[in-house]
Amino acid sequence: MSQLPVVFKRELASYFATPLAYVFIVMFLVLSGVFTFYLGGFYERGQADLAPFFDFHVWLYLLLMPAIAMRLWAEERKSGTLELLMTLPITRFEAVTGKFMAAWVFAGLALLLTFPMVITVNYLGDPDNGAIVTAYLGSWLLAGAYLAIGSCMSALAKNQVIAFILALSLSFLFIVSGLPMVLDMFSSWAPQWLVDVVASLSFLTRFSSISNGVIDLRDVLFFVTLIAAWLAATAVVIDLKKAD
């Protein structure tokens, strides 16, 4: 456990070593602003909450989180540093978790920089700030789930672009699994429990209550489990594909 912060620190610093990090943060802030004010109709709704801001995170992250995660392992494999990292006295757990945490904290930083949104809504009205904090935490959890999927896909591919596309496709499945058109496809032949399982995997359904400020322990558990499972898968994939 002792080397986890070392791996974390190096990885986080490497995000800021290139201008990419700043470009990403600007992109994130601009897009979340556009979504909130134009698509979400923040002013037109006339309500003092951040629902239009959080509602779009599921879609916004679909594009942006794979971009953060794609370099995690693909880059190491390509430059050969994977061999260096894996022959240092670090456990697989420390390496996988440390790198993931770095990506997650980076996403968290980007998320924190949306604070003017909170100031705005507090200036205009009298929102439930507890619900906003809850929604922020939920959004960060959601980002973690996307990143864990991205981490595994990055371990699978040597090429960052392929890692990005794989992560995006897989994450997309986790969104649409809650949409009626997908569920209808299952309900005609599959037993009800399977339909329920598919529906319960959806980020949309899981996140909708959180984004409204309602924390259900089951939803939190869902995201935490999902993150842990994908990180475990990352470790397995790295072990399997080391020799390539």
């Binding site: 002792s2 080397q3 070392v6 791996v7 620190k9 190096r10 610093a13 490497s14 070593a17 290139t18 430059s79 050969g80 540093t81 061999e83 260096l84 894996m86 022959t87 240092l88 006295p89 670090i90 456990t91 080391k242 020799a243």
Partner: protein, 307 residues
Amino acid sequence: MIELKHLTKRFAQHTVVNDLSFRVAPGEVLGFLGPNGAGKSTTMKMLSGFLAPTSGTASVFGADICSQTLKVQRQIGYLPEGAPCYGDMTVRGFLDFIAEVRGFRGAQKLQAVDRVLAQLELEPVQRQTIDTLSKGFKRRVGLGQAILHDPQVLILDEPTDGLDPNQKHQVRQLIKGLAQDKIVIISTHILEEVSAVCTRAVVIAQGRLVADGTPFELESRSRYHQAVSLVSDEALDQAALAALPGVAGIEQNEREHSLTLLAKPGEVIFPQVNELVRARGWAIKELDVERGRLDEVFRSLTRGEVA
């Protein structure tokens, strides 16, 4: 002490390392030789804990590479092939990272990093990012990361590959300096390197061990071992030379009036040749006794022929 016990690695159907067994004791600099694809790198990757063997195992000072991987990795310094480093980090930043992973903190870390920077003459570039450095510097950064924790075992995969002659010399001096009481394993296909730094050479071909001995022993397996080369201004009496006791054969060299007399295995022919030269009064410009040609031994060994 490193001990390989029937170490084997298979990829799909292809056996890369086949039942490799040998021991290396402290103080030895082991040259690990073989043609490309012979399994040198794969063996080193197994020793460093990067790849798991298909069967067999190895131990480093009693710690098994499969079941006690972390313990092994703490004891060894490893330079992977091509010396990969995090290119976006500065030299000092990178070495700081390695030091922290190796458990150094605070003043200890500073001391360890400073020592390595001085030892490898990296101080002038310590604030530069690794991507901006020349190949020689990058290689030294890679070496620096391997020796930072003053390991008992150093495993270096082609440490001088792609360096210029001065840099090669420098790296070899460094390895010699480090080797006093440690185990050093170097893979290479540069044979002069073996004579220059190694106390022992292990040759593998197609994953199998084909020779194990000191560089001198390997050289003596050459058919040029104890051969005598002559260069003269005038034509030499080949029949008289060939008739000398112990001479196995004569080879014409490309230079005019230049001959190489091969010795029968285990025999020394220089005194006889010298005697004949004096008796005939030949004007000899050059007279050499060869130790043996490593490249020739290497070729015959790795092609499966017996030297």
